[in-house]
Symmetry: C2
Subunit: 627 residues, 2 copies
């Protein structure tokens, strides 16, 4: 509400001044991301912000100590080098102004001006390199790691607290629900089966009847017709576990024309596709394809080869769909099958489009061609998919993606704020002129203040804050850190030396805080991945699946008979056990833990993963395929 009010006031002031022809600053603009945080499904971003706020006091003390260290070293540098009459490579005096030394040494912490900042002193005497080495060891390696440790530690602490709080709340609410639904059955309070079913239907309308039946069997172990308190409270956890119900279905073709589908030729084709050699052959094809992609496009033979490869890939997909049950092949969990198919189809469409453009008007559409190139190269990823070890790492990486997206939201908010401020400060100060432009001061980015600056010499003119896109690109460059001092100096030259503060603030907020949170995110996700064991509830469901004999047998999966063997190995990581009984048509399996982790940041799911993670001793082992 306050943000809306403030924005409104700003709008009125701005409008009023605009009418009287005074251009003022729309100072409320950088508040806009608040709307992004407050509305929509941004609970997770808010959570991260809360976590940052909690980290602030502790990180502040480390930061002050770090700044004290920088200031001390700067003082030392002033005394050691100030009177030596040394010159930098550009010929300016070396380390004579205290504030400039502080900036230079702050940049050295980010390593962006190493080793240039050291060279004049090093040229004078090699002893002085010890000063810079000590500085880098203490401030870059030690302090930056301490920042990571503090951020990581807090992130972790905060996450645990949130999970504990949520777990407590969930438990509390479930008991409340139980108290409303309970009836007296003998000596104990219970919930009747009918009531229970009604409830489950209400809260989880989209799970299948058989799945609900399974959950009931888990909750009502002895089939007494009612659910006791302990089992009832567990319901929320039970519902959180992804149980994939799959019907073992006959292939549609077998259904429609069983004679042809089961003929000798068809069987041979199917066994061929299921053979390991099939994967190998396609790996070789991909490698050859990679070589062809690298070769010159102009050669007609090679552009013809492209069609050959494309048809080979399409043939592969058709063969696989022919062999495996299409609904199983394109199941939700089959990420790689979806990936392959969509890449191939997109490549097919793009290639056709490109060819038709070309033949139609001799005009070679740039965008379409670029997309064709990218898709062609992306096809090569499939080779990773066929090597077990890589697949495991890739799956973990893919599971991190949702986390990264939350993180992307956070980054977007911070970037947006800085972009708005940057645009207010630097808009129009630096202009980009295409090469060979004859405009005045084209070489100095349209600003004579940049004459002879490193900024102009490195041709950074397009790095400006003239529009939101450019601003984001510049901020990304600042995040990567390298050469940020050149950018900072450039913008300071066209405005004021104090502009450097903007860049330092960005470094502190984004590189020291946000990037460390990202690293903490990734580390934690990997550690959880390594340490994940089956939770108690998952074990209960699995036991029941096994008892009922409706699971999918692991051994069979390992033989690769039932489902595409790709899927099997995917399941190995989590270490779950899957059992099966062929006679029944309906089967269950617990979705791979790697998959349930994909909602890592959706705390509901996290709860399952993390409660086991909290309570069990953490043994961090790689548990690669047992298959």
């Amino acid at each position: 509400m306050i943000a809306i009010l403030v924005t409104l006031i700003d709008l009125i002031i701005y409008g009023a001044l605009k009418i009287s022809n005074i251009n003022s600053i729309r100072w409320s603009r950088f508040l806009r991301p608040i709307f992004l945080i407050n509305f929509a499904e941004s609970r997770q971003i808010r959570r991260v912000f809360r976590s940052i706020r909690n980290t602030l006091p502790e990180i502040t003390y480390v930061f002050l100590l770090f700044m004290f260290s920088v200031l001390m070293f700067s003082l030392m540098a002033l005394k050691l080098f100030g009177d030596r009459n040394l010159r930098t490579v550009e010929g300016s005096p070396y380390f004579t102004n205290y504030l400039e030394i502080v900036f230079d040494l702050y940049v050295l912490v980010t390593t962006a001006n190493s080793p240039d900042v050291m060279m004049p002193a090093f040229d004078f005497s090699w002893w002085y390199s010890l000063f810079f080495i000590t500085y880098v060891v203490i401030n870059t390696y030690l302090f930056m790691s301490v920042f990571l440790a503090v951020v990581y530690n807090n992130y972790r602490k905060h996450l645990k607290n949130e999970i504990r709080k949520l777990a407590y709340m969930k438990h509390h609410k479930m008991i409340e629900a139980f108290n409303i639904l309970k009836v007296k059955e003998g000596t104990e309070n219970v919930v009747q089966e009918a009531q229970w079913k009604k409830l489950v239907k209400l809260v989880a309308p989209d799970i299948s009847t058989s799945h609900r039946e399974l959950l009931l069997r888990v909750s009502d172990e002895e089939q007494k017709g009612y659910v006791d308190k302990k089992s009832f409270v567990r319901l929320a956890d039970l519902l959180n576990i992804q149980v994939i119900a799959m019907r073992i279905q006959t292939h549609p073709l077998e259904h429609w024309m069983p004679h042809i589908y089961n003929s000798a030729v068809s069987l041979f084709v199917r066994s061929m596709v299921q053979h390991k050699g099939f994967v190998w052959i396609y790996d070789v094809i991909i490698l050859i394809n990679a070589v062809f992609i690298a070769l010159d496009e102009e050669n007609p033979l090679i552009s013809y080869a492209e069609w050959v490869f494309l048809s080979l890939y399409i043939l592969e997909i058709l063969l696989k769909v022919y062999t495996y049950e299409p609904r199983a092949f394109f199941a939700k969990s089959q990420f790689w099958n979806w990936f392959d198919t969509s890449i191939i189809i997109a490549a097919l469409i793009a290639t056709i489009l490109n060819t038709s453009f070309k033949s139609a008007s001799q005009y070679n559409s740039q965008q379409v061609l670029d997309i064709v190139f990218i898709l062609r190269v992306l096809r090569l990823i499939r080779i990773v998919d066929s090597i077990q070890r890589f697949r495991v790492i890739m799956n973990t990486l893919i599971n991190i993606v949702p986390t990264m997206l939350t993180f992307g939201g956070l980054a977007l908010v911070v970037y947006y704020m800085f972009a708005i401020i940057g645009m207010e400060l630097f808009q129009g100060k630096i202009q980009f002129f295409p090469r060979n432009s004859t405009a005045h001061h084209a070489l100095e980015c349209g600003n004579p203040a940049l004459k002879d600056s490193l900024f102009a010499r490195a041709k950074y003119c397009k790095n400006n804050f003239n529009d939101i896109t450019s601003s984001f690109v510049v901020l990304m460059e600042l995040t990567v850190v390298n050469q940020w001092h050149v950018l900072a100096n450039g913008f300071a030259l066209v405005t004021h030396q104090a502009a450097k503060l903007y860049f330092i603030a960005f470094h502190i907020v984004v590189v020291i805080m946000i990037i460390n949170i990202l690293i903490a995110f990734i580390l934690e996700a990997f550690f959880v991945e390594y340490s994940l064991e089956k939770s108690e509830v998952e074990t209960a469901i699995e036991r029941k699946i096994q008892e009922l004999g409706v699971g999918i047998q692991e051994e069979e999966l390992c033989d690769g008979k039932l489902i595409d063997n790709m899927e099997t190995s995917e399941n190995d990581l989590g270490g779950e056990e899957i059992t099966k009984k062929k006679s029944k048509g309906l089967m269950f399996k617990i979705a791979s833990k790697t998959l349930s982790l994909s909602s890592f940041w959706a705390l509901q799911h996290e709860l399952v993963a993390c409660s086991s993670y909290l309570h069990k001793e953490q043994s961090w082992w790689f548990s690669f395929s047992r298959c």
Copy 2:
């Protein structure tokens, strides 16, 4: 043995060839660090190497995947930018050669050529910046974090295994010892008190009688005159805990001249020194001193002020020694008192030396003056010491120092190997000429191949492999990463393009492996610091100290009456409890956990810290001062 043999063979071959005037390569030189690892107290370095070896298989797979990603993106870059006729800032063709693209993009992973490598494509169309942003996010942020996660995870796993093994071995050996010494006492096997004392005297000859007596009281809880099996096995842990025995002694001056020392004036001085205001006044003095240091040295008033500050500091130390018991003030654990005193004394000596040099011969010794400057600035660190929060962080950092030294040993070995190889490859290829030198090709570092190269333009001539010192400095610069591609290109120009492989290898080994181990070290040290709880054995000793009433009371310490209050706060971090009974002359306290951690890598000590760390649920909280 093999290394010695190989070295010998090499020597003979080299000597033989030398005689016949053929210069060959002393190829065995890079084996020398093996001697460093195998001899002396380098168990810890060997342990780290073992840990690296164990990490290799896992990191190899991640690395292959990472390289695959780099190669894929390079292929994409070749297709996207290769035919665009773009030019780099230097005017050379942009992204046309596949191998060069791979190198450029590998450098981009290290961020060293960002954003320069992007600028030509970005200038062409801002769309292409997305390619580079995606690349950086995936390869720099994601993969580099994954490397850290893998190294950290393995380091941790390996550390736990070592500790488990050691704990098991220790337990086993103690039981063996017990079986040798045991006698039958009633129904149980025990070790007689006399035997026990003899044993302790034998294995720990340097602990005091009173300390031994204390340990006996812990082991023989009920003073039955013998130690049972359970308590006996605990002995090794008991001996590992640093118990500081301190005699509450009267001040020597009070002993020699009690009338004067306890006179009204003396009491006033002593209470003044103990007052908080005393610390504050000196903090203000230090701040004023900092300003004076920054001012111009030539001004006679300022060089006079230096003497004033020096005498003020000396006065402070004298007053403190007058007020506090000197032996307590200079106790082993009083790091900051030692630090202050030695800095001041060193500054005094250096300043006197400098002045006498100056007056004696008008000659201003450079080295002495440098040392004076550094010491003057180092004195300012004391201001950190008087702020509680900073002191806590500083103590943790100081505790990391031994870990860093082990790490330094590891780094030294790797650096040495690379330095030897680098010297064989690049020695004499690049020469450094002082400024204004008229030598031939002075601007091109004595090598015409470097004409117009970035290397020569940035004046990097002193970055060469001509001697071991320069090599180490260059390797340090490569570790810091920034501009490493300029160095790599420079050395590739004077030798061969393949020389880049040396620099890439260094990056993989040092930055991806070693630096990540360093970060894992620091993270782990900080987490242990945060999570450290009292171990079972320490609690037992403490309880006994309290029971016997020979501990030092925490509250009294907090009032700062007994010992310099600096020491008190140092002890707060570990959270130990100290009790005291004034009537007795001898007191004990458990050495601060932060101190026992200082031997973090000496596994014996680690055992105590880490066994608690393994078995208890890890709650990682900051436990700042409770005082």
